[in-house]
Point group: C2
Chain length 210, copies 2
């Protein structure tokens, strides 16, 4: 009886511990995301992350065994967020409208200090992600959905059918890491809404569109 009690107590202690561990892990990923957004991969140090979370560097390494794994997990979480956001969209929306809405979501995240979900501007980071199987799995899940949307939009004549799908998809990703966003923030002092509005116009209609 007392043995059983002890067992349960240990179990609930362990659950609590896991919860705290999970919470700290999310806090680490939050900090990583924010620092990645401002400094980028190369300039982000593990000391930065540890200090932002309020833990020591060795503790950080108990959660993630390397800087590459840490960044990979942060990006995976972001991709999963995009997949969930897509899944939550009104099914009645047209393919093009879904693509626009998702990009708007990604741009807003970026403006609020987050990171582009892909593809990195740095060859180093790009190669690192290509080697990260877990990341690539999640990425392909998102990518195949986006590809279907692009194809459907082309069939609808919502998107130009003469453009190769790859060109549209890759350019679409590139808009989420476009330095235009930061430059407009710094030099033009536009509101977030105006930046997003203009970025969407340029992306879908170009400079002379409409």
């Amino acid at each position: 009886m007392s043995g059983r009690k002890l067992e349960m107590s240990n179990l609930s202690k362990s659950i609590l511990k896991d919860q705290a561990f999970q919470l700290r892990e999310q806090a680490i990923l939050d900090a990583t995301t924010s620092i990645l957004g401002s400094k980028g991969y190369d300039l982000m140090t593990m000391d930065d992350v540890a200090k932002a979370v309020g833990i020591s560097k060795p503790s950080l390494y108990k959660h993630f065994k390397s800087k590459e794994e840490l960044v990979g997990e942060a990006l995976i979480r972001l991709i999963d967020g995009a997949i969930q956001y897509l899944a939550g969209l009104d099914v009645a929306l047209s393919p093009l409208k879904k693509l626009i809405t998702l990009l708007e979501w990604a741009l807003r995240i970026r403006l609020e200090g987050g990171i582009p979900f892909l593809p990195s501007t740095s060859a180093h980071v790009r190669d690192m992600l290509l080697r990260n199987i877990k990341y690539m799995t999640h990425f392909f899940q998102l990518n195949s959905q986006l590809e279907q949307l692009v194809i459907a939009a082309q069939k609808n004549n919502e998107l130009n059918s003469s453009l190769p799908i790859d060109v549209i998809l890759i350019s679409y990703y590139a808009r989420t890491c476009d330095p235009t966003i930061e430059h407009l923030q710094i030099f033009s002092q536009m509101s977030h809404d105006d930046i997003i509005k203009n970025m969407l116009h340029v992306t879908f209609k170009g400079f002379n569109g409409l």
Copy 2:
């Protein structure tokens, strides 16, 4: 008489030395440009540059007193090239056609291993350049010409007048450092000409344009 001879001899020796010095300086800038194009600023080391040129690191520092100065000079040379290219264009071309032609030139340079002439994707590099007065002087010289072209093209109805000039200009620069270029090279294996054609379409007409 012999004194004069000696003087001339020293002079010509000095000229020769200057020429060799100038040549090596250009070689250093060539190597820097190429390495910047492939690895980017953060991953480019002074050892890389010295090795590519075939000189030692201290010799490199005789030419450029820091990594920041070296990169600044490489970018200045690139901007000056753009200014010269603009100046050499047929004056009969419309403002829009000039903008398209210059971007095509920049994209081709990039595809051949060069660097985007602006604006850097990295906050670190961007801040470094903002502090570089010589660089900013050259940049503004190019920028004011491009601004005039954009304004003229808007007056012509060649470019959408509802888009702020800043949005067009900054997006225009951004296309020269757009990771789409590399991704299309790596994943789609398109020819350079096709990549440029598609990039120009997306830039000026967007995804659904025309």
